[in-house]
């Protein structure tokens, strides 16, 4: 009793061959096109320039390998099964009602559980090791305080006593601790993809991100979290230089006439977009603590350990 | 005879369905309240330098409100016993008393609110007061809706008499009323007793 709707398909030659060929051609063309496009460009996630980014990259490769090892065979089996048991294949004279392999159910559950256990086993320690709040090593890090404001980044160097806007320079192979907060700003995110992952900046909170760079160069920084109209323009440059060059740079900035007093601070706090880099040889006392205090009444803010 | 049985079987099935659906609705209402409770739990200490619950609340007032509501649940229960017996007059009397008790509760709550507001403690003052007013205000709004429901149903019972469809409506109303009473117990415990602990 096999009513198959309206029958009579005259040319039933696989109507799937041509579209699949076109799809494969498109995919191949795209592959080469994209390879050409990205030549010489900063594919940041595959281009780690710091310890944390490197470890994240390793974790990424491991995870993708495990997942592809599970998924690709499954897909091959699925599409092969579909093709082999297609109606027009007279070789497989099917028993459409068959199928009582008790073990199938066990495999169906066991395979994904095993894969997830393997991943979880790596993921748990990695998450702890790569927690942004965790110091890189036992030595004292270079502290840089970050204030996100509309729509620019203010960097304060408490030890060197200088401040910059939309530009941050750090010495190579030195642990850096970014302490970040925000002022008159929705939630934003501080991100230098070549050096490591992002962390949110929130008013009244102090988040800590520990990074260490291992290659000299200029790297882009941005905020992936949308925070208003000027969102796309809120970019900064992170420059990694040698120790000597870093000290030189600090001396240079200290000799500049501009200082970040409270009037200037109010000025840059006002919303503006696509700001160019600025440098200040001094800043108002306890500026960072004052910013945090504005929202919480306590200089520590809401700490994220 | 057969037709009569089929009709009442159909009606019984429909009643069962409606009651079940009403329970599911009550659960969604409970979930909404749990958001408000969670928000209160997170924010109740954020007074931004203002007065805390301990300084603002009057435990005797809250206790009175609680007793009023508990008693009204009791009278509501008696009214439902009368409803299932088909006793129209008892239903009207006992739901009438429930109504008055609910109204008294609302009155006291409004008085508490206006005292706070007159002293400058409004829902705009800080996060603690925002969550206090919205939690209790939502409960008070539900009580108001319950009272409106009670009043209209009683009026229709006077006009049309107490039939099985009315009893079903009263059952849902009483479930709603008891539910609000339970929510109030949580409010009393978490908000008022919690402020003094």
């Amino acid at each position: 009793m096999d009513k198959v709707g309206v029958g009579k398909r005259q040319k039933k030659r696989s109507s799937v061959v041509w579209p699949i060929l076109i799809l494969l051609t498109v995919l191949t063309a795209m592959f080469f096109f994209i390879k050409y496009i990205i030549k010489g460009k900063n594919v940041a996630l595959l281009n780690p320039k710091g310890l944390i980014a490197q470890e994240q990259y390793n974790l990424l490769v491991f995870t993708v390998t495990v997942l592809l090892a599970a998924v690709i065979p499954t897909m091959i089996i699925l599409y092969y099964t579909a093709w082999k048991y297609r109606e027009s294949n007279s070789v497989t004279a099917a028993l459409p009602e068959a199928n009582k392999n008790k073990h199938i159910v066990a495999y169906m559950w066991a395979i994904p559980i095993v894969i997830m256990l393997v991943l979880a086993n790596t993921m748990w320690p990695a998450t702890h090791r790569l927690a942004p709040q965790r110091p890189i090593n036992d030595s004292k890090p270079l502290t840089i305080q970050v204030v996100a404001m509309r729509w620019k980044w203010l960097f304060i160097y408490p030890d060197q006593k200088i401040a910059t806007v939309n530009f941050v320079q750090i010495p190579i192979n030195t642990p850096v601790k970014f302490e970040m907060t925000a002022d008159e700003m929705p939630m934003s995110s501080f991100w230098i993809p070549n050096l490591g992952g992002q962390l949110y900046t929130m008013t009244g909170h102090v988040n800590r991100l520990n990074l260490m760079a291992d290659t000299v160069g200029d790297y882009p920084g941005s905020t992936p979290e949308i925070n208003g109209n000027g969102f796309a323009g809120m970019k900064f440059t992170a420059r990694v230089s040698s120790d000597d060059d870093f000290d030189q740079w600090v001396k240079q900035v200290k000799s500049l006439p501009e200082i970040l007093d409270s009037a200037k601070y109010e000025d840059i706090l006002r919303p503006s977009e696509y700001n160019s880099a600025a440098f200040y040889s001094a800043y108002e006392n306890n500026l960072y603590d004052k910013v945090v205090l504005k929202y919480t009444g306590s200089a520590e803010g809401h700490k994220h350990e | 005879m057969v037709e009569h049985d089929v009709v009442s079987h159909h009606q019984a099935e429909a009643n069962d369905r409606v009651m079940f659906g009403f329970w599911v609705y009550l659960m969604t209402d409970l979930l909404m309240f749990s958001v408000l409770f969670a928000v209160y739990a997170v924010l109740h200490q954020n007074t931004a330098g203002g007065e805390t619950g301990r300084q603002l609340f009057s435990l005797p007032l809250a206790l009175t409100e609680t007793l009023l509501l508990l008693t009204s649940s009791f009278t509501c229960g008696i009214a439902m016993i009368a409803a299932r017996r088909g006793n129209k007059n008892q239903v009207l009397i006992w739901f009438g008393i429930t109504f008055l008790l609910g109204l008294a509760f609302l009155g006291l709550e409004l008085k508490e609110f206006s005292t706070l507001i007159n002293e400058g403690n409004t829902l705009k003052s800080n996060a603690f007061l925002s969550s206090f007013f919205v939690l209790l205000g939502t409960h008070g709004l539900h009580i108001t809706i319950g009272l409106l429901w009670m009043a209209t149903t009683l009026i229709y019972i006077i006009k049309r008499g107490l039939n099985s469809s009315m009893v079903r409506k009263l059952t849902m109303l009483s479930l709603f009323w008891h539910f609000l009473d339970i929510v109030w117990i949580f409010i009393f415990t978490i908000v008022y007793l919690g402020a003094f602990s």
């Binding site: 990695a126 709040q133 992002q198 929130m202 | 969604t28 829902l123």
Partner: protein
């Protein structure tokens, strides 16, 4: 005085740029044209009586489909605007949209696609198919059904209202994170429109979910125990239980955002003790289960389609059910993975990462189940099965990228990048949307009695798949290059522009695919005699009860509620031979306009809440209360069809279907392709011009 009368309404808020004007003109023109057509063809009364006030879940289902389809076009147009902007806006060029407008477009796009396309189609499918699958005549509460539908329409009105009444939409992203959504950072009415469109449709969804749960748990045919229900019904049940659990959370949270904006409360503000992080938690406690609400019915559809087209029962019914329940249960425990980067400690992040990975387990089980079902089957690759084949590959990519994102250190690099956007579009388009397309092509013969044109259908499928690859593979690459989502402009030195151009081209290919789908439906109706289903309602040799009815089913679904004793109930009935019906009285609900009235008041109230017009708020709320009370005390909401009348209706239906079968043209007439369809349309238009038939108007 003016403020009392019209609140914050202002002439200066009316649309004043050409991109917006396009939208305004489209809405107003469409409305006028529709009205004129209805009046001239004398169909206004028919529309009101037969469709708008109907409580028949089949009719409500069709209305959901049409609304969802229209909103799909609206949301799709948003995509083309977005991708055009991104393709152009590199280096010195800023594209043709301001940053603010661009941000409003992607916010509207997200809300429309989730609430008014995906939810619409799913609610339409559940409405139409679930009662048929469980052997019921209607949903548990026909009144809640029509009310829920019209509240959903109210939501559509609210999300598009700014085109006509002024203002603008939210520019915050589809979930309007705090404090960006507060009055300080979003001072206009945009976020208020956002709040109220979601509020009113969310309430409709909650009522609908309650209704579906009541129906599935209380109205199954005798003998249909829970573990004998079809898998689409199971998927719908799990989905609706999740919906009923989390939509109240959304409603409460939306109220809190509104209070912050309008009453000055301090729930999520930066000062006054507010806590924006709490908003993030609350909104994602709703937001994550919501996407599982969308995917579970799709899993159900695919399970049934694979089984039917392989001519085999599903390999392990119990595993499929367990898989769906597993996904639902765990869906409620993973929400933090949306904000690993907010700064929680490693223990918290790792815990939620593990829970997220756990969900991949029941999902994989479902996939293996489908493979085992196809194994040793005899598979027919009609269009529904094609959509399944496309779904598996794309959803698998979505799954892999999802597990990657579930690992916090990796997420730190991928959060809010275009990689994330590509991930969730892979699951939502590959899973939910393809599931919807699969369902529509599978059940279209049931809805209309006509099979869909296969030639054009297959073409549409391939355009979708190729377009999807062209658009989303570059998106994954861009994510790896450090490109964030929602950017309206970027530096030329990044080298991203060619990839954005590629995305836009892919968008055009997908647009062609959508046009093909519309063409497919048109061609099917044009050749409806050739494509008529003459199998008496069972064109695919189906296994479940909905195929036991005529196509389309009678308004009372079944003449007699069937007795069920196994999974794949209809398959079993066919093996045993179908009994001759014994007619009995049927009780049906009456149509009602109350749903429409309450929704009109609700939409008015929402509008008034947005523009702070207090007197309209008061009047609308009183309207809602009074209408609801009057409906609640209506005793007379059903009517009876006697057994004799049922018999007459059945005889009439059989006679008509025999006549229709006679009209069926020979098989020799070829199924239309795209070229033939275009020729047909050109001829049709030329004929109208030649015969000057517009004069009749």
């Amino acid at each position: 005085m003016k403020e009392f009368l019209v609140g914050k309404l202002n002439w200066s808020d009316l649309p004043h740029d050409w991109v917006m004007f396009g939208g305004t003109a489209t809405f107003i023109l469409t409305f006028i044209v529709a009205l004129v057509v209805l009046i001239r063809t004398n169909k206004l009364k028919w529309l009101w009586n037969e469709w708008l006030t109907s409580v028949d879940p089949k009719k409500i289902g069709i209305m959901y489909f049409i609304s969802g389809g229209v909103m799909l076009l609206r949301g799709g147009l948003d995509v083309l605007l977005m991708w055009a902007q991104q393709a152009l806006s590199s280096g010195d060029s800023r594209g043709f949209l301001t940053a603010e407008h661009y941000q409003e477009i992607f916010t509207a796009h997200g809300n429309i696609m989730v609430f008014f396309v995906a939810m619409a189609f799913i609610f339409g499918l559940i409405n139409y198919i679930v009662p048929l699958q469980i052997g019921a005549r209607d949903l548990a509460s026909p009144f809640l059904n029509t009310l829920g539908f019209w509240l959903f329409i109210g939501g559509i009105v609210m999300v598009n209202m700014f085109f006509v009444f002024g203002g603008h939409y939210a520019a915050t992203g589809w979930l309007a994170v705090a404090p960006l959504s507060g009055k300080e950072f979003s001072p206009g009415v945009g976020v208020d429109y956002w709040i109220w469109s979601l509020m009113i449709s969310g309430i409709g969804t909650t009522l609908g979910a309650i209704n579906f749960i009541m129906t599935i748990l209380k109205m199954r045919a005798p003998g249909m125990k829970l573990l004998k229900m079809p898998l689409f019904t199971w998927g719908s049940l799990c989905s609706m239980i999740m919906a009923v659990t989390v939509f109240p959370l959304l409603t409460a949270t939306l109220f809190l955002v509104y209070f912050d904006r309008v009453l000055g409360t301090h729930f999520f503000t930066t000062l006054g003790g507010g806590d924006p992080m709490m908003y993030t938690n609350l909104i994602w406690m709703w937001g994550h289960p919501e996407v599982y609400v969308l995917i579970l019915p799709a899993f159900g559809v695919f399970s049934e389609v694979v089984s039917t087209f392989s001519r085999k029962p599903i390999a392990s019914y119990k595993s499929a059910v367990a898989g769906m329940i597993g996904v639902s249960a765990f869906a409620l425990s993973v929400w933090l993975h949306h904000f690993f980067t907010m700064g929680a400690g490693a223990d918290v992040n790792a815990f939620f990462g593990i829970m997220t990975m756990v969900i991949a387990i029941p999902t994989s089980v479902l996939v293996f189940n489908w493979i085992a079902t196809m194994y040793k089957g005899k598979i027919k690759f009609d269009t529904p099965m094609l959509w399944f084949m496309g779904f598996v590959a794309i959803f698998a990519i979505g799954g892999i990228t999802g597990v990657m994102l579930a690992i916090p250190p990796i997420d730190f690099q991928l959060h809010n990048s275009l990689f994330l956007v590509a991930h969730f579009h892979s699951t939502v388009i590959g899973g939910v949307l393809f599931g919807i397309f699969c369902a529509i092509s599978y059940w279209f013969p049931k809805f209309t009695g006509i099979r869909l044109n296969e030639r054009i259908g297959k073409l549409a499928f391939w355009f979708w798949v190729i377009g999807f690859c062209l658009s989303f593979i570059p998106m994954y690459v861009l994510g790896f290059m450090g490109a964030s989502r929602r950017l309206d402009h970027y530096d030329a030195s990044t080298g991203w522009q060619p990839l954005f151009i590629l995305m836009f081209i892919g968008g055009l290919v997908i647009a062609i695919g959508v046009a093909m789908q519309l063409a497919q439906i048109l061609a099917s109706f044009i050749q409806k005699n050739k494509l008529r289903d003459v199998t008496g309602g069972d064109p695919w040799n189906g296994r479940t009860l909905e195929w036991a009815t005529s196509s389309p089913p009678q308004f009372y679904n079944f003449t007699v509620i069937p007795q069920v004793s196994s999974v794949d109930a209809y398959w079993e009935m066919k093996q045993q031979g179908i009994q001759k019906p014994v007619y009995e009285d049927i009780h049906m609900p009456k149509n009602t306009a109350v749903g429409i009235y309450i929704s009109i008041y609700g939409t008015l109230a929402s509008f008034a809440f947005v523009w702070e017009i207090n007197w309209i708020i008061v009047v609308s709320i009183i309207g809602i209360i009074v209408t609801f009370i009057r409906r609640a005390f209506t005793e007379d909401s059903e009517y009876t069809i006697t057994a004799a009348e049922v018999q007459k209706l059945e005889e009439k239906r059989i006679k008509k279907s025999l006549e229709d079968d006679k009209h069926k043209a020979d098989d020799s007439e070829e199924e239309m392709g795209v070229i033939e369809l275009v020729k047909f349309i050109i001829n049709f238009v030329l004929n109208i011009i030649k015969n000057k038939s517009w004069r009749k108007w």
